[in-house]
């Protein structure tokens, strides 16, 4: 019984190691992306998505969280469809109810200034303000 258990555990360990083994890629010697990130395209797309989805919406404590999440997923999907080469994306969407309060949003990053960039899009309606931040980081 003990021998069997030992065999099982070593087999499991080998399988785990194989899964974790780093995949090695052949060098491409390419330091830049083939299709670079274009701010203007992404900004227009993001603005259009915000307009489409949020024009009819009114701020509502119950439906807004899911609306926020779905907008962020749609923007991510659209940016992926634009198919820029070798980029990782982070999309952040904020929806704030308008109630006469003040709000401040600040962002800083540590990244490659020549290859990474960001885009922001804003949408305002009577009851709320929506802000979308899209950050693209080069990854090879």
């Amino acid at each position: 019984m003990e021998e069997e258990n030992l065999n099982d555990s070593t087999e499991a360990e080998l399988a785990l190691r194989a899964n974790r083994a780093k995949i090695r890629y052949v060098n491409t010697y390419r330091l830049e992306s083939r299709k670079k990130f274009r701010d203007c395209l992404v900004r227009d797309k993001a603005q259009a998505i915000l307009m489409n989805k949020l024009q009819q919406a009114k701020y509502d404590g119950i439906s807004s969280p899911s609306l926020c999440a779905s907008v962020s997923e749609e923007i991510l999907k659209a940016v992926k469809e634009l198919d820029f080469d070798r980029y990782k994306y982070v999309v952040s969407v904020l929806i704030v109810e308008k109630a006469g309060q003040a709000m401040n949003v600040a962002s800083r990053w540590v990244w490659d200034a020549q290859r990474d960039s960001w885009v922001s899009a804003k949408f305002e309606s009577e009851t709320f303000i929506a802000l979308a931040l899209i950050m693209a980081c080069y990854y090879d």
């Binding site: 807004s64 926020c68 992926k80 982070v90 929806i95 309060q101 949003v105 600040a106 800083r108 490659d112």
Partner: protein, 105 residues
């Protein structure tokens, strides 16, 4: 293969918020300074960790007024090496939400 350690990052963020805004009440004139200092302190501590990561830190400070605030983020990255951490903090007069994203190089 380095990975993003959420607990470490969240404690760094909490420290930065406490030191920048600890016992203060919301003051319109100081908010800019607070957001800048929270974000800069978080970033400098994160880079001191010395890991091969690119970091993005976003801070939202909002006055308490009964208004609602929702944030959502979706990311396209490598799940095994990249991660995100969000910290919510509040006091009697304001809310502060800090999100830190780490992407492996």
């Amino acid at each position: 293969q380095p990975s993003f350690v959420v607990d470490e990052v969240s404690s760094i963020i909490k420290e930065a918020i406490e030191s920048a805004m600890g016992g203060n009440a919301y003051q319109h004139s100081k908010v800019n300074q607070w957001t800048t200092s929270v974000v800069e302190q978080t970033l400098s501590q994160l880079t001191k960790l010395g890991k091969p990561f690119k970091y993005i830190v976003t801070c939202v400070i909002m006055q308490k007024n009964g208004a609602g605030l929702h944030t959502a983020s979706s990311c396209f990255w490598d799940n095994s090496s990249d991660g995100a951490c969000t910290v919510r903090w509040e006091n009697k007069t304001m809310y502060c939400i800090v999100s830190a994203f780490g992407l492996a190089i």
